[in-house]
């Protein structure tokens, strides 16, 4: 962008150009370590070893791949559902609690972030192993030992705990904005407590549910470390397969095709969820 050319423009246009220039360094990083990598992944999926859609044909013709793909979706779905169910009462309590209790509840959500994700997975190994804390507690209570480590259940328990804050926070921020007097209004108009919850509170909190669920679902689809360390061969997810194709088998074509499938699932999920996160009704405007 040459200076004289900038000078010829209106002040408004000049401001816009200057504003755009400020985002250029960040965009350059994006181009180098986001765009270029994606282009390579997509390109290799259709060129290696030879041009064509052979890699995709292979992906969808191999039963193992389809099993893992289905499992990846299944795990992401269950993790998301569990997160919603667990986060909902917690976020609700946060939104109605007094100042001190709320601070404590928020603290409990944030503490897991104080140690890194790998360390937290390490902690789950300690808890879930056959002689771990959970099994010892079960034995002490007179139950039978259950196998958790290297199982789908173990992976799910760990993933839900790690992803729970991403569900709680958006839900909380929506719930905090819900006027609790609306529930009193509903009661005074003849609604039983259960009805007032399902007809008033739940619909008003749905944007938060969808926002949190979308984030959790997408992050769960791409989970790598936790399934790898807590799961076994029977709980391999798509990310692990991709890593195997590229690093162990050096098959960039297969790995690339799998990557594109995972990307498509992720952004497809986002596209489907985007309208759900929007409120169907206006929330501002009018004289207040």
């Amino acid at each position: 962008m040459s200076e004289p050319k900038v000078r010829e423009m209106t002040p408004e246009a000049r401001r816009k150009v200057r504003a755009f220039l400020m985002t250029v360094p960040a965009l350059a990083v994006l181009a180098l370590v986001l765009l270029a990598p994606l282009v390579i992944v997509v390109a290799r999926s259709v060129t290696e070893p030879q041009p064509g859609l052979e890699n995709y044909r292979w992906f969808f013709a191999t039963p193992v791949n389809l099993t893992v793909l289905a499992r990846t979706f299944k795990v992401a779905f269950w993790v998301t559902l569990l997160c919603v169910v667990v986060a909902y009462p917690y976020a609700f309590a946060m939104s109605v609690a007094g100042r001190k209790l709320r601070l404590l509840l928020i603290l409990c959500v944030l503490v897991p972030f104080w140690v890194s994700g790998v360390v937290r997975t390490f902690a789950w190994v300690i808890l879930l192993q056959d002689s771990g804390l959970i099994n010892k507690t079960l034995l002490a209570m007179g139950f039978e030992k259950i196998r958790l480590i290297r199982t789908q259940t173990g992976v799910t328990i760990g993933m839900v705990q790690i992803l729970l804050p991403f569900m709680i926070m958006p839900l909380y921020s929506v719930m905090r904005g819900i006027d609790l007097r609306l529930l009193l209004a509903a009661r005074s108009l003849g609604a039983r407590p259960v009805a007032s919850f399902f007809q008033i509170y739940l619909p008003l909190s749905l944007p938060g549910v969808f926002a949190g669920a979308t984030i959790v679902f997408i992050l769960a689809l791409g989970f790598y470390i936790t399934p790898l360390l807590l799961g076994g061969a029977s709980s391999t997810l798509l990310s692990t397969l991709i890593q195997q194709q590229v690093l162990s088998l050096l098959n960039w074509g297969h790995g690339g095709a799998m990557g594109v499938v995972l990307l498509a699932a992720t952004f497809g999920g986002l596209l489907i969820a985007a309208p759900l996160m929007r409120r169907r009704y206006p929330v501002t405007g009018g004289e207040r």
Partner: protein, 379 residues
């Protein structure tokens, strides 16, 4: 048209009645505390069927708490609450069949105007077509038919208020509770809506309880006003009675403008005398039970301003003062004068009468029959 039975969720009225018999409310020694704070200190009150009753008082005086107790939103420790003679302390809010209009309307933001108003009808399992007709009728009553499909956020404050009103009355409750419904609106709109609420009350026939901290609003709307102060009801009476014959100094000072004269008193025969700012004031009233300190509460129109020394006294009281403020109000002029003991007196005289200038010495004159003799709690 025959008056119809007020609907309960079980026996819903099948159409909007033109007139509903108002419910009688009996509040008997209701007490509510928050820890050591006494929100309601044995409040007792009877509200007559069809009456327009206002709860008036400063914030924190217990008026909204009383409303919440009637609506069933707040539990109380002791006392009995009756509607039409039936004890309802244990009836949950959704079965009390009371229409409530909230301070900030509490309209459901995810429902249209029509859906909001249909909500109580849906709870009462009223059929679709009937519901439609009832919503249409009540929308007409509040003149909002054109906005049925709008969402609350798309309405002005006054329109939201009318929707809240329509929603509370569509199921024809015998009792309507309104919690400062006009508080968020500007003065002009507030006055217009006051008249509308009065009209609706007249047409509907149900009992209205209206919470406000605005005495003018209470005077405009109410048949009777209950004045709240510190968790107690100080007096329940018509606006005129509260103004002319307040029972406590708080009521006298809260309603309208007033001048309070304080000083040592003595009772003799049918008269009481008060020594104020060096003058001896005679009051044609006696309170045999009066102990402790007494004070005299005068209204601005009781007082007359005269040039110093121009009145002989006789049957009238005269106190010297200096004029501090003069406010022209159109038909009348309001004067503020300071007595020698620092008391500020407020007088209102016709604008057509004699005029006085700020800073001038004046005589305050009133007849011994004027004013109210009251206990003086602030010793």
């Amino acid at each position: 048209m025959m008056p119809l039975q007020a609907s309960t969720p079980e026996t819903a009225t099948r159409r909007t009645p033109d007139r509903i018999p108002g419910a009688a409310v009996g509040i008997d020694r209701i007490r509510k505390t928050y820890g050591s704070y006494v929100a309601l200190d044995d409040v007792s009150l009877t509200i007559r069927p069809g009456e327009f009753m206002s709860f008036l008082g400063p914030s924190g005086s217990g008026k909204t708490t009383t409303l919440n107790v009637i609506a069933g939103f707040t539990g109380h420790e002791s006392g009995v609450l009756k509607i039409d003679g039936r004890e309802i302390d244990r009836v949950p809010p959704h079965r009390r069949n009371i229409g409530v209009v909230f301070q900030h309307y509490a309209l459901f933001p995810h429902m249209t105007v029509a859906e909001n108003i249909a909500y109580p009808l849906r709870q009462r399992r009223i059929g679709r077509s009937e519901r439609h007709a009832m919503v249409g009728a009540v929308l007409e009553k509040v003149e909002l038919s054109a906005l049925a499909g709008r969402y609350p956020a798309e309405l002005s404050g006054g329109q939201q208020q009318r929707v809240a009103l329509a929603r509370a009355m569509v199921f024809a409750p015998g009792l309507m509770l309104l919690d400062e419904p006009l508080g968020a609106l500007d003065k002009k709109l507030r006055e217009a809506l006051q008249l509308e609420i009065r009209r609706i009350h007249r047409e509907l026939g149900s009992t209205f309880v209206f919470v406000t901290h605005d005495q003018e609003e209470a005077l405009v709307l109410s048949d009777r006003i209950a004045v709240f102060n510190k968790g107690r009801i100080e007096q329940v009476a018509s606006g005129e009675e509260l103004y002319r014959a307040p029972k406590t100094l708080f009521v006298g000072q809260f309603i309208g403008e007033s001048t309070v004269l304080r000083g040592p008193h003595e009772s003799r025969g049918d008269e009481t005398a008060l020594s104020v700012a060096g003058a001896r004031i005679r009051i044609a009233a006696r309170r045999p039970d009066a102990g402790g300190r007494q004070c005299l509460l005068l209204r601005p129109e009781d007082l007359r301003l005269c040039a110093p020394g121009s009145t002989a006294g006789g049957h009238e009281n005269v106190v010297a003062a200096r004029l501090r403020e003069k406010i022209y109000l159109g038909a009348s002029v309001k004067y503020e004068a300071v007595l020698t003991d620092g008391t500020v007196a407020t007088a209102r005289m016709p604008a057509s009468g004699p005029s006085f200038e700020i800073g001038a010495p004046v005589d305050l004159v009133w007849s011994a029959g004027c004013g109210t003799l009251l206990d003086d709690p602030g010793a």
